[in-house]
Amino acid sequence: MTKKVAIIGGGIAGMEAASVLSRMDIEVLLIEKRQQLGGHVGEWDHLFPNFRPASEITRSLLNALQNNNIKICANTVVTGIARKAGLFEVKTNQNQNFKVDGILLATGFDLFDAHKKEEYGYGIYENVITSADLEKKLKGGNVLTTASGCVPKRIAMIHCVGSRDEKAGYFHCSRVCCITAVKQAIEIRQKLPNVEIFCFYMDLRMYGKGFEEIYREAQEKWGIQFVRGRLSEAGENIDGGLQIKSEDTLSGRPLKMIVDMIVLMVGMVPAESTSQMAKMLGIHLSGDGFIAHDDVHFGSNITNVPGIFTAGTITSPMTISDTIADARSAALKICEYIA
C-alpha cells in the first residue's frame, strides 16, 4: 500500500519536499493556507547572490509538482492533528479528514513586524519602508520614489531590524538580511545611478558562496557605503526628509544624517502558526521560538514527536539554497520513517 505524507506549508521547502517524496512513490498532501504556493519567495523580485528572478525558482518548483502522487490543498488550514493506530488524522478548515503516515512541517517564518521598532518610524513616517516593501516596489517595475513622488537622493539601509536585538525580543541572526541589503543596494544603484546609499550594520555576515564577492562589488563598483553603527532613532523633518542618529563605531563619532528614504532590513522570526502547531502537537521549541532539534549535528528535520518532521525555516532562518537542501534531507528522513 502506498504510504501517505501530509506536508503543512507550501513554500519552497514544502514544494521541494513534496516533489522529492512524490518521486519516491509516496503520496503527498501539500497543504497551503494561501491561494498560491511559493511562500515568501513568491513575493520576491530577484535573489542573491546572482540576481536571478525569484519567479524562476517558484516556477521550476511548481513544474516538479506535476505528479499524480501530489494533491495540493490550497486555502486550507490544519485545524487538528490526532494520532490514531499508528496513523495521523489531519483535520482542516475545509472539513477534510486525511489519514497519513507521517507529517512534515514546513510553515516557514514570519517577517519581523517593523512597527515594533517604533523608534525607526515604520508606519509613522512615510518614507520608512522595509526590505520586503522595497522588493515589492522593485517587482512592480516602477521607478523608486519617495512618498511625495521624488526620486530619492540618499537612502539608508538599516541592518538587523528585529534580529540580534534582545530588546525587540529576538536574539538570533536572520542570516539573509546582510546579503539582501547588498543585493537591494546594488539594484537601486543600477536603477538610480545618482543615489547615495548608506548601509548601517553591526557586522556583515557574508558567509555564503558568492556573498563576499557581491559585497566587494557593492563597494568597488557601486560605491555603496557601509557604516558600522546601529541606528538609534529616526525623526522626520517638515519636508518629509528623515533625520537619522547613529554612531560610526569605527571612527568613534556620533553621526547625524538626513536621508530621503530608510529601508529596514527586517529579520526572520518564528511564524505565529509555528507556535500554535507546536502547542497542538507537543513539539519542543528552542529559546528563540523556532522548532528545536534534540541533536544539533544529527537532529536536522527530526522533532521530539515521532512521525513529525520539519523542513526549512521553521527551525531557523535559512537562505533558499539551504532551505532546498533541508527539504531534500527532510524527505529522506520521513521516507526512512514510514518505510
Binding site: K116, E118, G121, I124, K167, G169, E233, A234, K245
Partner: protein, 607 residues
C-alpha cells in the same frame, strides 16, 4: 505594700527598656537636620500633634491599613497591639479603683491577680474582671494567628512571610510565651482562690480539679514575669523596636519631616519603624514574577540597619512604588533606596560642554517630548497634531533632542551631573516665558514637577489634553473600541494622576477595568529604576503584567508613558497606544480653526 521577688525580672526589664528608649529617642531627635528641627518647633503646639495622636491610635494600635490589605492579618496585629494596650490601660484603672490612689508600683497592675486574691469589693469589680479576661482572650486569639502565620503564611493572605534573624527569634519566642503564661498564672491563682471570670475562672477551676495549682501558680507567675522582662530587654534590639519607633515616626511625619536626598536621622527612624510584616514582599513583581525574594524593601531596610547594603538589593529594584503604596507604616521606601544609591553612585565627570546654548522661542506652551517619546515617535506626532488642531501657541523645546530632563542621572545618584542638564533646561524654560510646560513622558513630568522648582505650570499631556477638551477647544468623537488603561508607575503612584486618563478614555472609547489598577497597577517591567534585571527577566515581568491587564479582553491597551508603550508593544499582538495617539485619532477637526475662542486658550494657561 504588695511585693514578691518574681516581679523583679519584669521591673528590671521595664526600667531597662525605658532607659534605652530614652537614649535612642534623644539621639534621634538631636541628630535630626536643622530644617527638620525647625519643623518640629513650628508644629509641636498645633493641631498636628493631635492629628498624630489620632494616627498613632488608628495605625499603631488598630492597624487600619493592614486591615484593608487583609482582615485576618489586620485582626492579628490589632488584637496583639490594641488588646495588649487595653490590658495595660484597664489593668491600671483596675488597680487604681482597687487602691483608690494613683500611687502603686508599676508591676502592681500587671500582676494584680496575684496580689489581690480576696473577694474584697471595689468599684466596677465584676466589669473589670470580665473585661480583663476578654482582652486577654482577644490577645490570645491574635497570638494564635501569629503563631500559625509563622508556619503557614497563606492564612493571612501572604504568600511569603519575612525570614527572621536569631535575635528576632528570641524576642518573638518570649512574646509568644507572655500571654499563655499570663493565662496559666492567672488561671492557677483563680483555681486556688476560686475566683476569676469566664476565662481564668473556668480554666482555674478546671486546673484545680486536675492539677496541683498551689505548686504551679508561683512558677507560672515567675515565668510570666521573666517572659515580660526578657521581651522588654530584647525589644530595642529586635524587630519590635518598630513599635516605639513608629510612634515617633508618625509624630515627625505629621510635622512635615521627610526623607529627602540624604539619609538623615529621620530616615533612620523610618528604617527602624519597619515592622517586617512582609506585605512588601507580596506586592513586589520581582518576587511574584521572577521568584527573587531577597531584595524587597523589608530586606533592604534590614540591610541598612546591618550596614550591608549591596548592589543587588540597591539596583535590582524597579522603584515602581508598589511596596511603598501598600506599606502599612507609610515608610518612604523608594526615597530610602535612592539615599543609598546616591551614596554608592560613582559620579561621572562629563562637563556636558557639548550642549550648545539652548535655542528658544517665546510661546505660551512648551512641549517637552523626552528621550523615550523620541523613541516612540507616534506619540510625538499625535501631540503635535493635537497642538496644531487646537491652535496652541507652543514651542517644541526638545525637537532636536536637546538635553535630557536629568532623571536617569538622578535615578543613579548622579545629582551633580543631573543639575547641569537641569540648569540648561531651566534657562530655556525661563527664556521662553511660557506659562505651561507639557511633557509626554511621566518620568520627565515628575522630574520637572518635583526637582526643577519651576514657577510655571507643569502638566502631563493627559492633564493638558483633558483641559483642552474641557474648555471646548478640542472636540472628541467616541469610538466603539474596547480599551484597558495601564497606569504608568510615575504618573499614577508617582503623582496621583488616575482620574484624568480615565475621564479622557471614557470620551473616546469603552473603558474596561482589569483587576489591579490605579494604586495597585503593575509596573510594565521596562522601568529605568532597575539596573540589574536582564532583558529576559524584564520580559517575564512584562508578560506577567500583560496577562493580568488583558483579562478583560480589550481591542487596545492604552497607557500614558512612552516607556510602558515600548515595553508592552513587544509582548502582545494587541495594539498598544499612548492615550495621546487614541485622542489624536478621535479628534473632530473643526470646520474653521478661527472659530476657536481665544478666551478658552487663556483659561488653559491660567489654570
Amino acid at each position: 505594700m504588695a511585693y514578691h521577688h518574681f516581679v523583679l525580672p519584669f521591673s528590671i526589664g521595664m526600667a531597662a527598656l525605658f532607659a534605652i528608649l530614652m537614649v535612642k529617642f534623644t539621639i534621634w531627635i538631636v541628630k535630626l537636620e536643622s530644617v527638620d528641627k525647625r519643623l518640629i518647633r513650628k508644629n509641636l503646639f498645633s493641631v498636628k500633634t493631635l492629628d498624630a495622636m489620632g494616627e498613632v491610635f488608628m495605625e499603631s494600635l488598630l492597624h487600619r491599613k493592614i486591615f484593608r490589605k487583609n482582615p485576618m492579618l489586620g485582626y492579628m496585629h490589632m488584637s496583639l497591639a490594641f488588646g495588649w494596650f487595653l490590658l495595660i490601660l484597664f489593668g491600671n484603672f483596675q488597680a487604681q479603683f482597687y487602691t483608690r490612689t494613683m500611687l502603686h508600683p508599676p508591676y502592681f497592675p500587671i500582676f494584680f491577680n496575684f496580689f489581690v486574691t480576696t473577694s474584697e469589693e471595689y468599684l466596677f469589680k465584676a466589669s473589670f474582671e470580665f473585661l480583663m479576661d476578654l482582652f486577654l482572650l482577644i490577645v490570645l486569639t491574635g497570638l494564635f494567628i501569629a503563631i500559625s502565620k509563622r508556619f503557614y503564611s497563606r492564612i493571612v493572605g501572604l504568600k511569603k512571610t519575612t525570614k527572621l534573624k536569631f535575635f528576632d527569634k528570641l524576642a518573638l519566642t518570649s512574646l509568644w510565651f507572655i500571654f499563655p503564661l499570663r493565662l496559666l498564672a492567672e488561671s492557677f491563682t483563680s483555681g486556688l482562690y476560686n475566683n476569676g471570670d469566664f476565662l481564668t475562672g473556668s480554666l482555674g477551676s478546671f486546673f484545680a480539679r486536675h492539677l496541683m495549682v498551689e505548686k504551679l501558680a508561683l512558677p507560672a507567675w515567675w515565668g510570666y514575669s521573666l517572659a515580660l522582662g526578657f521581651f522588654f530587654v530584647a525589644l530595642p534590639y529586635s524587630r519590635y523596636m518598630h513599635i516605639p519607633a513608629e510612634v515617633l515616626l508618625i509624630f515627625l511625619r505629621k510635622y512635615g519631616v521627610r526623607t529627602r536626598r540624604e539619609f538623615t536621622s529621620y530616615s533612620d527612624i523610618e528604617v527602624r519603624s519597619c515592622s517586617r510584616c512582609g506585605i512588601c514582599i507580596d506586592a513586589c513583581q520581582i518576587n511574584n514574577a521572577l521568584g527573587i525574594n531577597n531584595i524587597q524593601s523589608v530586606y533592604f531596610l534590614r540591610s541598612i540597619r546591618e550596614r550591608s547594603v549591596g548592589d543587588e538589593k540597591l539596583f535590582t529594584c524597579m522603584l515602581c512604588g508598589r511596596c511603598e503604596n501598600i506599606c502599612p507604616v507609610g515608610i518612604q521606601l523608594s526615597d530610602l533606596r535612592m539615599t543609598q544609591r546616591n551614596k554608592n553612585g560613582v559620579q561621572n565627570t562629563s562637563t556636558y560642554d557639548f550642549l550648545v546654548p539652548p535655542k528658544y522661542k517665546v510661546a505660551d506652551v512648551l512641549y517637552f517630548a523626552g528621550c523615550m517619546t523620541h523613541l516612540t515617535p507616534a506619540i510625538k506626532k499625535s501631540m503635535l497634531k493635537i497642538f496644531d488642531i487646537a491652535g496652541v501657541n507652543y514651542y517644541f523645546m526638545d525637537s532636536d533632542k536637546e538635553a535630557c530632563c536629568g532623571r536617569p542621572l538622578i535615578q543613579s545618584g548622579h545629582y551633580e551631573n543631573a543639575a547641569k542638564l537641569m540648569e540648561y533646561n531651566k534657562k530655556l524654560i525661563r527664556q521662553s516665558k511660557a506659562k505651561v510646560l507639557v511633557t509626554s513622558c511621566p518620568i520627565c513630568y515628575k522630574t520637572f514637577k518635583e526637582d526643577y522648582k519651576l514657577n510655571i505650570h507643569v502638566m502631563h499631556h493627559t492633564e493638558y489634553i483633558l483641559k483642552l477638551v474641557e474648555v471646548g477647544i478640542l472636540l472628541l468623537e467616541k469610538g466603539d473600541s474596547k480599551v484597558v488603561y495601564h497606569d504608568p508607575c510615575e504618573l499614577g503612584r508617582g503623582l496621583g494622576i488616575y482620574e484624568e486618563p480615565r475621564i479622557l478614555l471614557n470620551k473616546v472609547a469603552r473603558l474596561l477595568h482589569p483587576d489591579e489598577e490605579r494604586e495597585n497597577a503593575f509596573c510594565c517591567g521596562g522601568s529605568l529604576g532597575s539596573f540589574n534585571l536582564s532583558t529576559q527577566q524584564r520580559n517575564i515581568i512584562r508578560d506577567d503584567a500583560l496577562a493580568k491587564l488583558m483579562k478583560p479582553n480589550p481591542d487596545k491597551l492604552i497607557t500614558a508613558c512612552p516607556l510602558c508603550k515600548k515595553t508592552f508593544s513587544k509582548g502582545t499582538k494587541v495594539q498598544v497606544l499612548d492615550i495621546a495617539e487614541l485622542v489624536a485619532a478621535s479628534v473632530i477637526v473643526p470646520e474653521a480653526k478661527k472659530a476657536l475662542d481665544m478666551q478658552k486658550h487663556e483659561t488653559v494657561l491660567v489654570e
